[in-house]
Structures are given as structure tokens and as C-alpha cells.
Amino acid sequence: MKPKALNDNPFMKPVEWASLALLCVLIFGLLPLALDGFRLNLVGKYLTYAFVALGLVICWGTCGILSLGQGVFFGLGGYCMAMYLKLEASSVENTKIQSTPGIPDFMDWNQITALPWFWKPFHSLPLTLIAVVLVPTLFAFIVGAAMFKRRVGGTYFAIITQAIAAILTILIVGQQGYTGGINGITDLRTLHGWDIRTDTAKTILYFVNGGLLVACVLVAQFVKRSKLGRILVAMRDKEDRVRFSGYGVASFKIFAFCLAAAFAAIGGAMFTLQVGFMSPSFVGIVPSIEMVIYAAVGGRLSLFGAIYGTLLVNWAKTTFSESFPELWLFGLGALFIAVVLAFPDGLAGIWRQHVEPRLTRRAKAAPAALPQGAPAE
């Protein structure tokens, strides 16, 4: 292939604009029209996982860093949001019967009499919104800086992030008085006085969620298409060569990891808002690895693939575990193995290898157009 100058590269190719349009039609048009309130809320919940999958496309697919601790960032974002909502729900009038009114009920049950210091900032909505993104990103920065500056990568990084997910889960479960323990933070009611439990609120939140997701897709696309994105790919494929060319490999990796963490955190916060609670079961190793499989099924290189992968896996999970709970784990396990062995590029890979060449051939009706190589991603 002839080398192209960087500025020949448009922000998105026509096919990608088309996929974006299709995604928008699906999220904002078809799904809300076709589904009832309950199912739409369910899809909204799935779409919050898609934020994590998007982050993994950047971090894992593009940059080659497999993080098994994305649940940590999802959870931190979600917990930040939940803390604000919980404080609002535990106003002095609402909690009159407690021995210490004005603090969340689970603190009262655990004989805590004053609000811990790290809960205090969450009285304010602006601070909360900042914390939702900042706390997980900062955490990712610390972990990433500690690891990547010392050239820890690949499998080691995966194992350490996994350990961090385990630690955070045990910590949240163990410190019941401060975190709500295994039940998490429940009974959330209003966001700045606006009841989030009504059907209208849920529909509005669904659209906000969809809008944020599309925004994140655009940000991720911007990163992928920029020069930065090319360095990320180069690092994935030949890290040493990039390092010897004079780039600070660690900083780029930290950036990719932090971006993925920020996406996951936004997803977590939207999850709390739409589902109405947050618990440690979304932080640990099992959910974190499940989030990786969303990206893997959709295609670890494709932003749109990741979203469809998330929707597909979750839809399958809900359907199967409703009707055949026994078979679901077999199915999920087989899915992991099949994706890895047979379709390493997931749905997007199948599309690109089998469907797209056929479509272009038909569209052009050209004599035997050779299947084009995968687009430079």
C-alpha cells in the first residue's frame, strides 16, 4: 500500500459516518420506539457498559494494554454518583428516625455518628460531577504511572489490575459503615431535587446516556485518527522501535489507560443514575473480565463493534439467563473460547472480512475487485 500523508486522512471515512448515523438511528430512534419503558431502561443499562468497552478499544485494541480492572473505574465513577444521590436522599427530614439524622442509613446501622470526611464533598453536585471523572482518572494515572514508568506491561499489567479490582471489592465489602458493604449504596431517589425514579426521568436519562456515548465515540475516534492514535498503534506492534525513535512510551500508555478509565467512569455514573443503585458486584474481577469480553466480541479494534458487542452479549445474557439459567455460563464460556480461537477481531472482523468486500463488490459491480486489506486502523 502506498504511504499516505497524515492530512489525507479524513476524520472519518464515509463508511464510518454511515455507521455512526446508523448507531444514532438505533439508539435515538428505533430502540425507544420499539421497546417499552422497562426494556428501554435495560438497554440503557447495557449502553453504560458500552462506555467501558469503548475505553477498552482504545486501551487494549489500539494500544495493546489489557486491563482486567476496568470494573474499578466503572465502580469508582458509579460510587461517586451514588454518594451524591445517597446524601441527597438522606436529608435530615428523611432520616428523622435514625439516631444520627442526616447521614446515610447504612452508616447509622453501623454505629457511625458523623459523616466521614471523604463523603463531605459529595454534598455538592458540581463537585460530584468533577469527582466522577477525576477520581477514577487520577487513580488510573497513579496506577499507570507506577507501572508503565517501570516498563511493566502485557500479562503482568493484566494481573496487577486484576489484583487491584479484587482489593477494592474486598475493601468495599469489608468497610460496611463507610461504603454500604455488599449491598452497595441503594435507595437513591433524586438528582438535585429531580426524581430519577419516574418513567419520564428514566427516558430522559436514557437519551442523555446515548448522547454521552456518541460523544465518547467521537472523542475516541478523534484519538484514533490523530497522530497520537498512530503512535499508540505503533507502540502496540513494536514498542521498542517507538521508544528508540524518541517517544516517551510510558506517557502515551498512561494517557490511553486514563482515557479508558474516564470513559468507564462516565459509564459507571450513568449506570447509577439509570439503575438506581451501585454495589461492589460491578467492581470485582468477574464483571471486569466480562467487560473485556464485550469489547472482544464486538471487535477489539472497532469502536462501533464494541458497542454492538456489548448490546449483543448483554441481550444474550438476559435472554438466556431468563429461560435457561443453567446453560448461560456454558454459553458465555464457549463464547470466550470461540471469540479467541475463531474470531480474534470479533463482529467487526467478520464484517470487514466477509460482508464489506461483498458489499463493495456489488456496489461497484467491478470485474472481480480483490478483497481489500483491512483499513488502516
Binding site: R150, T155, A158, I159, A163, I167, I170, A296, I337, V340
Partner: protein, 308 residues
């Protein structure tokens, strides 16, 4: 937290908890030994390692039931049979998995992680379907119960000593196998350079298969030992997988000595802290310390000097 105890008490507490932690240590060492072979030598991230351990635990459970019902005379000796069976069953399953799954993935280590995670889900559900979701326990023969009274304040549990002895034996056998036998030389050659090893006439496929089987088999024995400290359920193995990986990484992935040393320090820290703090806090502190040290010293405790 040490304030209310005298120095002598503290010594006894440390010793007691140390001996009480013997079984945990043995389980950790055996699990980590298997993983050090699979992960350290072969570079495969086997997330299903805990499920291989649980297979060993279920074999022990079946043996215990079988001997109680049909061969009560031989019941005192059943544990040896159980351990052998656990090794064979887990090893055979391991070889099957290597042949069906792992051998396609040697060039993509991160993908082995996803595939073996899928495998672990399948195994968990299989255990649930076969043995039921309830946790099961085994009956120990009477000679393994009780403890040796070392001093007034210190008791050493007999089953701990027994498992410890088995662990030492297995460690020696594995070390001998890897470092002093023809097979071990082949293993190390294949792990260093699969293509070159094949070129000089080593059957790399066979070596890979045996090595993976060996690692899984040892995990099976760990499962046998595990039945003494906990009841066996379909998902019990998952609780141990993170600890085990940390032990292997902490010790320096390629070093057997390091694996043992780190298993010892981690299990003893945890078991000692558990006396003073709640179980979950002890675990958090231990894991945090390990992760903290790994951030400062990512190559682990014991390692060859290699420039990466």
C-alpha cells in the same frame, strides 16, 4: 494492635498462627508451583487454574465418600489415593485442554487469559451441574485430626504437618524434574525458544502438553490439601486465583525458589494479621502490600537479571 499482648504471648501467637497457616501455605505453594510452571515457564495465563484445583478437591470428596461406603478398612489411607487421583484427573484434563485450546494460542498470551477464563466458567457450571451448588466437605481419617503439643501455648495441627510434608516432597520432585532431568532440559529449551527447540529435534508439542498437564496436576493435589481448610463449592477456586497469580508474580515468575518464598511470606502475613484484624482487612493489607512492592520492584523478589 499489639499493645495488649506481652512479648511471650506475641511469640506464641505468631508461632500458632504460623503453624495454623501451614495448610494455607501448602495450598498456595502447590497452586503457585503449578502456575509457575504454566505461567512462568510457558507464558500461558491460566485463569482456570483454580478450577483445576477444585477438580482435585472434588476427587478427594468422591474418594472420601467411596472409601467410607465400600472400603471402611482402608479409610485411614484414603488420602493418599485421593491425592494420586486428584493429580491424575487434573493432569489429564489439563492435557486435554492444552491439546484442544492452549496450543493454538502460544503466540497470543493475553488471549489465553480470555480463553481460559471461558474454560473456567464452563468448568464451574459443569461442577454445579454434577455436584450441585451446595458446598461439600470431606471426612478426615482420625489419625490426621488433633495436634502435637509443642509447648504449653503452641499446638501444631497434624494434618498441617502432613500436608506440609507432601508439599515439600512434591516441590523437590518438581525441582528435580525441571532442573536435573532430560525432560526438564527439554521444557526449558522449548520455553526459551519454541522454534529452535523444534529444530534440534525436541517434540515441542509433546513437551508443552506434558508440562501443562504437570502444572494442572499439581493444582489438583493443591485441591486435595484445600479440602482440609475449606469446603468445596463450584466457585471456591476463583477466590484463590488472584492470590496465586500475585504469588507467582511476586516471587519472580521464572523462579521456583521465589515462588515458595513469596507463598510463604504472603500466607504467613495473612494468617498472622487475621489474628489481630478481621479477615477481610487482613487480606486487603496483604494484597496492598504485595501490589505496592510489585510497583516498586516489578520483576518480583527473586529473578534473573534480564534487560527487558
Amino acid at each position: 494492635m499489639f499493645g495488649e499482648y506481652s512479648l511471650g504471648d506475641l511469640g506464641a501467637i505468631f508461632a500458632m498462627q504460623g503453624f495454623a497457616g501451614l495448610i494455607l501455605f501448602s495450598v498456595y505453594v502447590l497452586m503457585a508451583l503449578g502456575l509457575a510452571i504454566i505461567f512462568g515457564q510457558m507464558g500461558v495465563i491460566n485463569m482456570a487454574h483454580g478450577e483445576f484445583m477444585i477438580l482435585g478437591a472434588y476427587m478427594t470428596y468422591l474418594c472420601s465418600g467411596f472409601f467410607q461406603a465400600h472400603l471402611p478398612a482402608l479409610f485411614p489411607a484414603y488420602f493418599f489415593v485421593a491425592m494420586a487421583l486428584a493429580f491424575v484427573a487434573a493432569g489429564a484434563l489439563g492435557m486435554l485442554v492444552e491439546w484442544g485450546l492452549i496450543r493454538h494460542l502460544y503466540k497470543r498470551p493475553l488471549d489465553t487469559l480470555l480463553a481460559t477464563w471461558g474454560l473456567s466458567l464452563i468448568l464451574q457450571q459443569a461442577y454445579r451441574s454434577i455436584f450441585g451448588a451446595r458446598e461439600v466437605g470431606v471426612e478426615l481419617p482420625s489419625w490426621m485430626m488433633g495436634s502435637v503439643q509443642a509447648t504449653d501455648a503452641i499446638e501444631i495441627p497434624i494434618n498441617g504437618l502432613f500436608v506440609m510434608a507432601v508439599t515439600v516432597l512434591i516441590t523437590l520432585v518438581v525441582a528435580g524434574l525441571l532442573f536435573a532431568s532430560r525432560y526438564g532440559k527439554q521444557v526449558r529449551a522449548v520455553m526459551q525458544n519454541r522454534v529452535m527447540a523444534g529444530a534440534v529435534g525436541i517434540d515441542t508439542g509433546r513437551v508443552d502438553c506434558l508440562t501443562f498437564g504437570l502444572g494442572c496436576g499439581i493444582a489438583g493435589i493443591a485441591g486435595s490439601a484445600f479440602t482440609m481448610i475449606g469446603s468445596t463449592g463450584p466457585t471456591s477456586g476463583q477466590l484463590y486465583i488472584v492470590d496465586t497469580f500475585l504469588i507467582v508474580v511476586f516471587g519472580g515468575a521464572a523462579s521456583l525458589m521465589g515462588t515458595i518464598a513469596s507463598a510463604f511470606s504472603i500466607s504467613q502475613t495473612q494468617s498472622t494479621l487475621e489474628f489481630f484484624l478481621s479477615g477481610s482487612t487482613a487480606k486487603v493489607i496483604t494484597l496492598l502490600a504485595v501490589v505496592g512492592i510489585l510497583m516498586l520492584r516489578p520483576q518480583g523478589l527473586f529473578t534473573l537479571k534480564v534487560r527487558r
